[in-house]
Amino acid sequence: MTEDFILTPAIESVLAELEVQRKKIASSKIQGWGAIILGVACFAIGAILSQAIIAIIGFIMVVPGVVILFRISDDINQYKYRFKQEVIGAALNSIHQNLTFDHENGISESEFINAQLFAKTPDRYHTEDLITGKDEKTVFYFAEVHAEYKTEMQTKNGRQVQWHDILKGIVFSADFNKNFNGITVVRPKDFGSSIGAWFSENIYSFGDKDIVQLENDYFNKNFVTQSSDQVEARYILTPAMMEKISDLNERSAYCISLSFINSSVYIAFPLNNNYFEPPVFDTLLKPDLLDEDMNILTFMFLIIKELNLNTRVWSKE
Protein backbone atom coordinates (compact mmCIF):
# COMPACT_ATOMS: atom_id res chain seq x y z
CA MET A 1 0.00 0.00 0.00
CA THR A 2 2.91 2.35 -0.52
CA GLU A 3 3.18 2.79 -4.28
CA ASP A 4 3.68 6.27 -5.67
CA PHE A 5 1.00 7.69 -7.90
CA ILE A 6 2.21 9.82 -10.83
CA LEU A 7 0.10 12.91 -11.44
CA THR A 8 -0.87 13.44 -15.08
CA PRO A 9 -0.41 16.91 -16.69
CA ALA A 10 -4.22 17.31 -16.87
CA ILE A 11 -4.56 16.67 -13.13
CA GLU A 12 -1.63 18.95 -12.37
CA SER A 13 -3.26 21.79 -14.31
CA VAL A 14 -6.53 21.39 -12.33
CA LEU A 15 -4.53 21.30 -9.11
CA ALA A 16 -2.77 24.55 -10.03
CA GLU A 17 -6.20 26.24 -10.46
CA LEU A 18 -7.49 24.75 -7.24
CA GLU A 19 -4.38 25.87 -5.36
CA VAL A 20 -5.40 29.52 -5.92
CA GLN A 21 -8.87 28.73 -4.56
CA ARG A 22 -7.36 26.82 -1.62
CA LYS A 23 -5.13 29.74 -0.61
CA LYS A 24 -8.14 32.09 -0.64
CA ILE A 25 -10.16 29.66 1.50
CA ALA A 26 -7.27 29.10 3.92
CA SER A 27 -6.75 32.82 4.34
CA SER A 28 -10.49 33.45 4.86
CA LYS A 29 -10.65 30.64 7.39
CA ILE A 30 -7.72 32.07 9.34
CA GLN A 31 -9.32 35.53 9.30
CA GLY A 32 -12.76 34.22 10.26
CA TRP A 33 -11.61 31.94 13.06
CA GLY A 34 -9.06 34.54 14.20
CA ALA A 35 -11.82 37.13 14.61
CA ILE A 36 -14.05 34.65 16.43
CA ILE A 37 -11.30 33.52 18.83
CA LEU A 38 -10.22 37.09 19.57
CA GLY A 39 -13.82 38.19 19.99
CA VAL A 40 -14.63 35.34 22.38
CA ALA A 41 -11.45 36.08 24.36
CA CYS A 42 -12.37 39.78 24.65
CA PHE A 43 -15.92 38.87 25.62
CA ALA A 44 -14.64 36.49 28.32
CA ILE A 45 -12.14 39.05 29.66
CA GLY A 46 -14.86 41.73 29.67
CA ALA A 47 -17.20 39.40 31.55
CA ILE A 48 -14.52 38.45 34.10
CA LEU A 49 -13.44 42.07 34.67
CA SER A 50 -17.07 43.30 34.55
CA GLN A 51 -16.07 45.69 31.75
CA ALA A 52 -19.11 45.94 29.49
CA ILE A 53 -17.24 47.83 26.76
CA ILE A 54 -14.61 45.12 26.32
CA ALA A 55 -17.35 42.48 26.26
CA ILE A 56 -19.29 44.44 23.63
CA ILE A 57 -16.15 44.91 21.49
CA GLY A 58 -15.55 41.17 21.77
CA PHE A 59 -19.11 40.46 20.68
CA ILE A 60 -18.78 42.85 17.73
CA MET A 61 -15.53 41.13 16.65
CA VAL A 62 -17.23 37.76 16.51
CA VAL A 63 -19.83 38.93 13.97
CA PRO A 64 -17.47 39.59 11.01
CA GLY A 65 -15.72 36.28 11.79
CA VAL A 66 -18.99 34.38 11.48
CA VAL A 67 -19.89 36.32 8.31
CA ILE A 68 -16.51 35.48 6.70
CA LEU A 69 -16.89 31.78 7.49
CA PHE A 70 -20.48 31.81 6.26
CA ARG A 71 -19.48 33.50 3.00
CA ILE A 72 -16.71 31.02 2.20
CA SER A 73 -18.86 27.93 2.87
CA ASP A 74 -20.01 27.91 -0.78
CA ASP A 75 -16.42 28.30 -1.93
CA ILE A 76 -15.37 25.36 0.24
CA ASN A 77 -18.13 23.18 -1.20
CA GLN A 78 -17.15 24.15 -4.72
CA TYR A 79 -13.49 23.53 -3.96
CA LYS A 80 -14.25 20.07 -2.55
CA TYR A 81 -16.59 19.30 -5.44
CA ARG A 82 -13.99 20.23 -8.08
CA PHE A 83 -11.25 18.30 -6.27
CA LYS A 84 -13.34 15.15 -6.03
CA GLN A 85 -14.79 15.41 -9.51
CA GLU A 86 -11.82 16.63 -11.51
CA VAL A 87 -8.87 15.30 -9.52
CA ILE A 88 -10.04 12.08 -7.83
CA GLY A 89 -12.37 11.22 -10.74
CA ALA A 90 -9.57 11.63 -13.30
CA ALA A 91 -7.07 9.78 -11.12
CA LEU A 92 -9.52 6.85 -10.85
CA ASN A 93 -9.67 6.55 -14.61
CA SER A 94 -5.93 6.32 -14.77
CA ILE A 95 -6.09 3.23 -12.52
CA HIS A 96 -9.00 1.58 -14.33
CA GLN A 97 -11.38 2.93 -16.95
CA ASN A 98 -14.35 1.13 -15.43
CA LEU A 99 -14.23 3.02 -12.16
CA THR A 100 -16.79 5.71 -11.40
CA PHE A 101 -16.83 8.11 -8.47
CA ASP A 102 -19.89 9.58 -6.81
CA HIS A 103 -18.84 11.64 -3.81
CA GLU A 104 -22.39 12.45 -2.73
CA ASN A 105 -23.51 8.84 -2.38
CA GLY A 106 -22.31 5.84 -0.44
CA ILE A 107 -23.57 2.55 0.97
CA SER A 108 -27.03 3.04 2.39
CA GLU A 109 -27.66 2.50 6.08
CA SER A 110 -30.13 -0.30 5.36
CA GLU A 111 -27.55 -2.12 3.23
CA PHE A 112 -24.94 -1.64 5.97
CA ILE A 113 -27.31 -3.15 8.55
CA ASN A 114 -28.36 -5.99 6.24
CA ALA A 115 -24.71 -6.82 5.54
CA GLN A 116 -24.43 -7.87 9.24
CA LEU A 117 -20.76 -6.94 9.37
CA PHE A 118 -21.18 -5.78 12.95
CA ALA A 119 -23.39 -6.95 15.79
CA LYS A 120 -24.40 -3.39 16.74
CA THR A 121 -26.94 -1.33 14.81
CA PRO A 122 -25.92 2.29 14.18
CA ASP A 123 -27.71 5.21 15.81
CA ARG A 124 -25.88 7.74 13.64
CA TYR A 125 -24.72 6.98 10.12
CA HIS A 126 -22.81 8.87 7.47
CA THR A 127 -21.54 7.63 4.13
CA GLU A 128 -19.85 9.28 1.13
CA ASP A 129 -17.43 8.79 -1.75
CA LEU A 130 -18.98 5.81 -3.51
CA ILE A 131 -16.70 4.15 -6.04
CA THR A 132 -18.15 1.52 -8.35
CA GLY A 133 -16.52 -0.60 -10.99
CA LYS A 134 -16.37 -3.89 -12.79
CA ASP A 135 -13.27 -6.01 -13.15
CA GLU A 136 -13.82 -8.72 -15.78
CA LYS A 137 -16.86 -10.58 -14.40
CA THR A 138 -16.97 -9.04 -10.96
CA VAL A 139 -19.05 -5.99 -10.14
CA PHE A 140 -17.86 -4.20 -7.03
CA TYR A 141 -18.29 -0.96 -5.10
CA PHE A 142 -17.02 0.62 -1.94
CA ALA A 143 -17.59 3.77 0.07
CA GLU A 144 -16.50 5.55 3.18
CA VAL A 145 -18.76 4.84 6.14
CA HIS A 146 -18.92 6.28 9.62
CA ALA A 147 -21.37 4.31 11.74
CA GLU A 148 -21.79 5.03 15.45
CA TYR A 149 -23.92 3.84 18.33
CA LYS A 150 -24.73 5.81 21.44
CA THR A 151 -24.77 5.03 25.11
CA GLU A 152 -26.61 7.12 27.67
CA MET A 153 -25.50 7.55 31.26
CA GLN A 154 -27.29 9.20 34.12
CA THR A 155 -24.86 11.59 35.84
CA LYS A 156 -25.12 14.32 38.45
CA ASN A 157 -25.51 16.86 35.64
CA GLY A 158 -28.28 14.93 33.93
CA ARG A 159 -28.29 12.45 31.14
CA GLN A 160 -25.01 12.20 29.24
CA VAL A 161 -24.88 10.79 25.71
CA GLN A 162 -21.67 9.24 24.43
CA TRP A 163 -21.00 8.23 20.85
CA HIS A 164 -18.87 5.20 19.96
CA ASP A 165 -17.60 4.10 16.57
CA ILE A 166 -18.94 0.89 15.06
CA LEU A 167 -16.93 1.56 11.94
CA LYS A 168 -14.99 4.49 10.65
CA GLY A 169 -13.49 3.35 7.39
CA ILE A 170 -14.44 1.70 4.13
CA VAL A 171 -17.07 -0.92 3.31
CA PHE A 172 -16.27 -2.93 0.20
CA SER A 173 -18.80 -5.11 -1.59
CA ALA A 174 -18.37 -7.43 -4.56
CA ASP A 175 -20.35 -10.07 -6.36
CA PHE A 176 -19.09 -13.41 -4.98
CA ASN A 177 -18.02 -16.11 -7.42
CA LYS A 178 -20.00 -18.96 -5.86
CA ASN A 179 -23.71 -19.50 -5.31
CA PHE A 180 -24.92 -19.63 -1.74
CA ASN A 181 -28.22 -19.16 0.08
CA GLY A 182 -27.35 -18.68 3.73
CA ILE A 183 -25.53 -16.01 5.73
CA THR A 184 -21.94 -16.33 6.89
CA VAL A 185 -20.25 -13.63 8.93
CA VAL A 186 -16.60 -13.35 9.94
CA ARG A 187 -16.03 -10.82 12.71
CA PRO A 188 -12.96 -9.83 14.71
CA LYS A 189 -12.48 -11.89 17.83
CA ASP A 190 -12.68 -9.90 21.03
CA PHE A 191 -13.32 -10.88 24.63
CA GLY A 192 -17.12 -10.61 24.34
CA SER A 193 -17.35 -12.60 21.13
CA SER A 194 -14.99 -15.27 22.50
CA ILE A 195 -17.23 -15.78 25.54
CA GLY A 196 -20.30 -15.83 23.26
CA ALA A 197 -18.62 -18.37 20.97
CA TRP A 198 -17.71 -20.63 23.90
CA PHE A 199 -21.24 -20.41 25.31
CA SER A 200 -22.79 -21.09 21.93
CA GLU A 201 -20.54 -24.09 21.36
CA ASN A 202 -20.72 -25.65 24.80
CA ILE A 203 -24.03 -24.69 26.36
CA TYR A 204 -26.64 -23.24 24.05
CA SER A 205 -26.73 -21.33 20.79
CA PHE A 206 -29.01 -18.32 20.58
CA GLY A 207 -29.96 -16.76 17.28
CA ASP A 208 -30.11 -18.13 13.77
CA LYS A 209 -26.37 -18.50 13.20
CA ASP A 210 -24.02 -21.03 14.79
CA ILE A 211 -20.31 -20.76 15.42
CA VAL A 212 -18.22 -22.34 12.67
CA GLN A 213 -14.99 -23.92 13.89
CA LEU A 214 -12.50 -23.77 11.04
CA GLU A 215 -9.18 -25.55 10.58
CA ASN A 216 -7.04 -22.47 10.08
CA ASP A 217 -5.41 -21.46 13.40
CA TYR A 218 -4.74 -17.86 12.40
CA PHE A 219 -8.36 -17.55 11.31
CA ASN A 220 -9.75 -18.98 14.55
CA LYS A 221 -7.41 -16.84 16.63
CA ASN A 222 -8.39 -13.59 14.93
CA PHE A 223 -12.00 -14.12 13.87
CA VAL A 224 -15.27 -15.53 15.09
CA THR A 225 -17.15 -17.13 12.21
CA GLN A 226 -20.89 -17.67 12.37
CA SER A 227 -23.16 -19.10 9.73
CA SER A 228 -26.70 -20.21 9.12
CA ASP A 229 -25.29 -23.23 7.23
CA GLN A 230 -22.16 -25.03 8.41
CA VAL A 231 -21.45 -26.78 5.09
CA GLU A 232 -22.05 -23.65 3.05
CA ALA A 233 -19.71 -21.67 5.34
CA ARG A 234 -16.96 -24.15 4.52
CA TYR A 235 -17.88 -24.11 0.84
CA ILE A 236 -17.24 -20.35 0.91
CA LEU A 237 -14.32 -20.40 3.36
CA THR A 238 -12.12 -22.97 1.68
CA PRO A 239 -8.59 -23.41 3.08
CA ALA A 240 -7.29 -21.24 0.22
CA MET A 241 -9.89 -18.53 0.86
CA MET A 242 -9.05 -18.45 4.57
CA GLU A 243 -5.38 -17.97 3.71
CA LYS A 244 -6.26 -15.08 1.42
CA ILE A 245 -8.50 -13.42 3.98
CA SER A 246 -5.77 -13.83 6.61
CA ASP A 247 -3.30 -12.22 4.25
CA LEU A 248 -5.71 -9.35 3.57
CA ASN A 249 -6.17 -8.90 7.31
CA GLU A 250 -2.41 -8.81 7.90
CA ARG A 251 -2.08 -6.02 5.36
CA SER A 252 -4.83 -3.95 6.98
CA ALA A 253 -4.20 -1.59 9.86
CA TYR A 254 -7.05 -2.99 11.97
CA CYS A 255 -8.89 -6.30 12.02
CA ILE A 256 -11.35 -6.54 9.13
CA SER A 257 -14.92 -7.92 9.21
CA LEU A 258 -16.51 -9.91 6.40
CA SER A 259 -19.95 -11.16 5.53
CA PHE A 260 -21.22 -13.38 2.75
CA ILE A 261 -24.83 -12.58 2.11
CA ASN A 262 -27.20 -12.28 -0.86
CA SER A 263 -24.58 -13.71 -3.20
CA SER A 264 -22.14 -10.92 -2.31
CA VAL A 265 -19.12 -10.51 -0.10
CA TYR A 266 -18.88 -7.44 2.15
CA ILE A 267 -15.64 -6.40 3.81
CA ALA A 268 -15.29 -3.62 6.39
CA PHE A 269 -11.89 -1.96 6.77
CA PRO A 270 -11.55 0.30 9.82
CA LEU A 271 -9.24 3.21 8.90
CA ASN A 272 -7.84 6.31 10.56
CA ASN A 273 -8.00 8.72 7.65
CA ASN A 274 -10.83 10.40 5.82
CA TYR A 275 -9.89 9.70 2.22
CA PHE A 276 -10.56 11.63 -1.01
CA GLU A 277 -10.68 15.02 0.77
CA PRO A 278 -8.68 18.06 -0.41
CA PRO A 279 -6.36 19.75 2.09
CA VAL A 280 -7.11 23.33 3.11
CA PHE A 281 -4.02 24.31 5.08
CA ASP A 282 -1.53 22.29 3.08
CA THR A 283 -0.50 22.79 -0.54
CA LEU A 284 -2.08 20.85 -3.37
CA LEU A 285 1.11 21.16 -5.38
CA LYS A 286 3.11 18.32 -3.91
CA PRO A 287 3.91 15.18 -5.89
CA ASP A 288 2.69 12.75 -3.22
CA LEU A 289 -0.68 14.51 -2.80
CA LEU A 290 -2.79 11.58 -4.02
CA ASP A 291 -0.56 8.72 -2.89
CA GLU A 292 -2.64 7.73 0.14
CA ASP A 293 -5.94 8.00 -1.72
CA MET A 294 -4.67 6.05 -4.70
CA ASN A 295 -3.04 3.41 -2.54
CA ILE A 296 -6.29 2.70 -0.73
CA LEU A 297 -8.04 2.59 -4.09
CA THR A 298 -5.54 0.18 -5.59
CA PHE A 299 -5.79 -1.95 -2.47
CA MET A 300 -9.58 -2.18 -2.86
CA PHE A 301 -9.26 -2.93 -6.55
CA LEU A 302 -6.75 -5.70 -5.86
CA ILE A 303 -9.15 -7.49 -3.50
CA ILE A 304 -10.90 -8.93 -6.56
CA LYS A 305 -7.67 -10.55 -7.64
CA GLU A 306 -6.54 -11.45 -4.13
CA LEU A 307 -9.77 -13.33 -3.46
CA ASN A 308 -9.89 -14.77 -7.01
CA LEU A 309 -13.39 -13.39 -7.47
CA ASN A 310 -13.05 -13.46 -11.26
CA THR A 311 -12.54 -17.22 -11.24
CA ARG A 312 -15.96 -18.48 -12.28
CA VAL A 313 -15.45 -22.21 -12.74
CA TRP A 314 -18.51 -22.88 -10.60
CA SER A 315 -22.04 -22.72 -11.97
CA LYS A 316 -22.32 -19.00 -11.20
CA GLU A 317 -21.57 -16.70 -14.14
Binding site: K178, N179, E201, N202, I203, Y204, V212, Q213, L214, E215, Q230, V231, E232, A233, R234, Y235, T238, P239, A240, E243, T311, R312, V313, W314, S315
Partner: protein, 185 residues
Amino acid sequence: MIFVAVIAIAVLIFGIGIYNSLISKKNQVANAFSAIDVMLKKRFDLLPNLVETVKEYMQYEGDTLTKITELRGKALGANVSESAKLALDSQIGTAVKGLMVSVENYPDLKANQNFLNLQSTWTESEEQIAAARRNYNASVTTYNNSVMMFPGNMFAGMLGYQTITVLETEAEERENINAKELFNS
Protein backbone atom coordinates in the same frame (compact mmCIF):
# COMPACT_ATOMS: atom_id res chain seq x y z
CA MET B 1 -31.11 -21.87 52.63
CA ILE B 2 -32.19 -19.74 49.66
CA PHE B 3 -28.54 -19.33 48.74
CA VAL B 4 -28.04 -23.12 48.69
CA ALA B 5 -31.20 -23.55 46.62
CA VAL B 6 -30.01 -20.94 44.10
CA ILE B 7 -26.63 -22.66 43.82
CA ALA B 8 -28.33 -26.05 43.41
CA ILE B 9 -30.61 -24.70 40.65
CA ALA B 10 -27.66 -23.05 38.89
CA VAL B 11 -25.68 -26.33 39.02
CA LEU B 12 -28.72 -28.23 37.74
CA ILE B 13 -29.23 -25.80 34.83
CA PHE B 14 -25.54 -25.97 33.99
CA GLY B 15 -25.64 -29.79 34.12
CA ILE B 16 -28.70 -29.92 31.85
CA GLY B 17 -26.89 -27.54 29.48
CA ILE B 18 -23.80 -29.78 29.32
CA TYR B 19 -25.92 -32.92 28.90
CA ASN B 20 -28.03 -31.42 26.12
CA SER B 21 -24.95 -30.01 24.44
CA LEU B 22 -23.38 -33.49 24.36
CA ILE B 23 -26.51 -35.03 22.84
CA SER B 24 -26.71 -32.18 20.33
CA LYS B 25 -23.06 -32.71 19.33
CA LYS B 26 -23.66 -36.42 18.81
CA ASN B 27 -26.66 -35.57 16.62
CA GLN B 28 -24.60 -32.97 14.84
CA VAL B 29 -22.09 -35.66 13.83
CA ALA B 30 -24.89 -37.79 12.38
CA ASN B 31 -26.30 -34.73 10.67
CA ALA B 32 -22.92 -33.84 9.21
CA PHE B 33 -22.54 -37.33 7.83
CA SER B 34 -25.93 -37.17 6.16
CA ALA B 35 -24.85 -33.86 4.58
CA ILE B 36 -21.96 -35.71 2.91
CA ASP B 37 -24.44 -38.32 1.71
CA VAL B 38 -26.68 -35.68 0.16
CA MET B 39 -23.71 -34.11 -1.62
CA LEU B 40 -22.53 -37.51 -2.90
CA LYS B 41 -26.00 -38.29 -4.22
CA LYS B 42 -26.07 -34.93 -5.99
CA ARG B 43 -22.68 -35.67 -7.53
CA PHE B 44 -23.62 -39.20 -8.62
CA ASP B 45 -26.72 -37.77 -10.29
CA LEU B 46 -24.51 -35.68 -12.53
CA LEU B 47 -22.70 -38.70 -13.91
CA PRO B 48 -25.30 -40.13 -16.39
CA ASN B 49 -25.64 -36.71 -17.97
CA LEU B 50 -21.88 -36.26 -18.12
CA VAL B 51 -21.31 -39.70 -19.66
CA GLU B 52 -24.14 -39.13 -22.14
CA THR B 53 -22.73 -35.76 -23.21
CA VAL B 54 -19.12 -36.81 -23.62
CA LYS B 55 -19.59 -40.21 -25.24
CA GLU B 56 -20.72 -38.64 -28.53
CA TYR B 57 -17.35 -36.93 -28.79
CA MET B 58 -14.91 -39.15 -26.92
CA GLN B 59 -14.74 -42.23 -29.09
CA TYR B 60 -11.49 -43.42 -27.56
CA GLU B 61 -12.45 -43.12 -23.91
CA GLY B 62 -15.07 -45.88 -23.89
CA ASP B 63 -13.32 -47.82 -21.12
CA THR B 64 -13.22 -44.83 -18.78
CA LEU B 65 -16.89 -44.08 -19.41
CA THR B 66 -17.87 -47.69 -18.75
CA LYS B 67 -15.80 -47.66 -15.56
CA ILE B 68 -17.50 -44.47 -14.35
CA THR B 69 -20.95 -45.93 -15.05
CA GLU B 70 -20.06 -49.13 -13.20
CA LEU B 71 -18.67 -47.27 -10.19
CA ARG B 72 -21.80 -45.14 -10.01
CA GLY B 73 -23.96 -48.25 -10.15
CA LYS B 74 -22.02 -49.74 -7.24
CA ALA B 75 -22.17 -46.55 -5.19
CA LEU B 76 -25.94 -46.29 -5.58
CA GLY B 77 -26.50 -49.98 -4.93
CA ALA B 78 -28.31 -51.27 -1.87
CA ASN B 79 -26.42 -52.01 1.37
CA VAL B 80 -23.36 -49.97 0.49
CA SER B 81 -21.70 -48.72 3.66
CA GLU B 82 -20.87 -45.04 4.00
CA SER B 83 -17.13 -45.72 4.00
CA ALA B 84 -17.46 -47.84 0.83
CA LYS B 85 -19.50 -45.05 -0.75
CA LEU B 86 -16.75 -42.55 0.05
CA ALA B 87 -14.11 -44.89 -1.40
CA LEU B 88 -16.18 -45.32 -4.57
CA ASP B 89 -16.61 -41.56 -4.80
CA SER B 90 -12.86 -41.17 -4.59
CA GLN B 91 -12.43 -43.62 -7.48
CA ILE B 92 -15.12 -41.84 -9.50
CA GLY B 93 -13.38 -38.54 -8.80
CA THR B 94 -10.08 -39.88 -10.12
CA ALA B 95 -11.74 -41.33 -13.24
CA VAL B 96 -13.60 -38.10 -14.01
CA LYS B 97 -10.42 -36.11 -13.44
CA GLY B 98 -8.68 -38.29 -16.03
CA LEU B 99 -11.60 -37.78 -18.38
CA MET B 100 -11.41 -34.01 -17.97
CA VAL B 101 -7.73 -34.10 -18.84
CA SER B 102 -8.53 -36.01 -22.05
CA VAL B 103 -11.03 -33.30 -23.05
CA GLU B 104 -8.04 -31.34 -24.39
CA ASN B 105 -7.95 -33.79 -27.31
CA TYR B 106 -11.57 -33.10 -28.25
CA PRO B 107 -11.98 -29.43 -29.27
CA ASP B 108 -15.64 -29.87 -30.25
CA LEU B 109 -16.46 -31.15 -26.79
CA LYS B 110 -14.60 -28.28 -25.17
CA ALA B 111 -16.91 -25.89 -26.99
CA ASN B 112 -20.11 -27.75 -26.05
CA GLN B 113 -22.19 -25.55 -23.72
CA ASN B 114 -23.88 -28.48 -22.02
CA PHE B 115 -20.49 -29.99 -21.26
CA LEU B 116 -19.16 -26.69 -19.93
CA ASN B 117 -22.17 -26.42 -17.59
CA LEU B 118 -21.61 -29.97 -16.39
CA GLN B 119 -17.93 -29.26 -15.91
CA SER B 120 -18.62 -26.27 -13.66
CA THR B 121 -21.35 -28.12 -11.75
CA TRP B 122 -18.90 -30.98 -11.23
CA THR B 123 -16.30 -28.60 -9.80
CA GLU B 124 -18.96 -27.10 -7.57
CA SER B 125 -19.89 -30.55 -6.30
CA GLU B 126 -16.21 -31.30 -5.58
CA GLU B 127 -15.97 -28.25 -3.36
CA GLN B 128 -19.35 -28.96 -1.75
CA ILE B 129 -18.25 -32.48 -0.85
CA ALA B 130 -14.95 -31.15 0.46
CA ALA B 131 -16.92 -28.64 2.57
CA ALA B 132 -19.26 -31.38 3.84
CA ARG B 133 -16.29 -33.57 4.80
CA ARG B 134 -14.63 -30.67 6.62
CA ASN B 135 -17.92 -29.99 8.38
CA TYR B 136 -18.11 -33.64 9.42
CA ASN B 137 -14.56 -33.58 10.75
CA ALA B 138 -15.21 -30.34 12.66
CA SER B 139 -18.36 -31.87 14.20
CA VAL B 140 -16.43 -35.01 15.16
CA THR B 141 -13.61 -32.96 16.70
CA THR B 142 -16.06 -30.88 18.74
CA TYR B 143 -17.89 -34.03 19.83
CA ASN B 144 -14.63 -35.84 20.70
CA ASN B 145 -13.43 -32.87 22.72
CA SER B 146 -16.65 -32.90 24.74
CA VAL B 147 -16.47 -36.64 25.27
CA MET B 148 -12.87 -36.50 26.46
CA MET B 149 -12.82 -33.24 28.40
CA PHE B 150 -14.32 -32.24 31.74
CA PRO B 151 -17.23 -31.81 32.43
CA GLY B 152 -18.60 -33.51 29.28
CA ASN B 153 -16.65 -36.72 29.98
CA MET B 154 -18.78 -37.40 33.12
CA PHE B 155 -21.96 -37.55 31.05
CA ALA B 156 -20.23 -39.26 28.12
CA GLY B 157 -19.25 -42.13 30.43
CA MET B 158 -22.84 -42.46 31.69
CA LEU B 159 -24.26 -42.39 28.14
CA GLY B 160 -21.64 -44.78 26.78
CA TYR B 161 -20.46 -42.25 24.21
CA GLN B 162 -17.08 -42.93 22.65
CA THR B 163 -14.78 -40.96 20.41
CA ILE B 164 -15.26 -41.14 16.63
CA THR B 165 -12.53 -41.24 13.99
CA VAL B 166 -12.30 -38.26 11.65
CA LEU B 167 -12.27 -38.73 7.88
CA GLU B 168 -8.89 -38.49 6.26
CA THR B 169 -8.46 -35.24 4.39
CA GLU B 170 -8.02 -35.81 0.70
CA ALA B 171 -5.06 -34.17 -0.96
CA GLU B 172 -7.36 -31.96 -3.07
CA GLU B 173 -9.01 -30.54 0.04
CA ARG B 174 -5.69 -29.39 1.40
CA GLU B 175 -4.70 -27.74 -1.84
CA ASN B 176 -6.01 -24.59 -3.33
CA ILE B 177 -8.61 -26.10 -5.61
CA ASN B 178 -8.18 -24.52 -9.00
CA ALA B 179 -10.49 -25.97 -11.58
CA LYS B 180 -8.73 -24.22 -14.42
CA GLU B 181 -5.63 -26.22 -13.61
CA LEU B 182 -7.74 -29.31 -13.14
CA PHE B 183 -9.31 -29.04 -16.56
CA ASN B 184 -6.49 -27.50 -18.52
CA SER B 185 -3.61 -29.63 -17.36
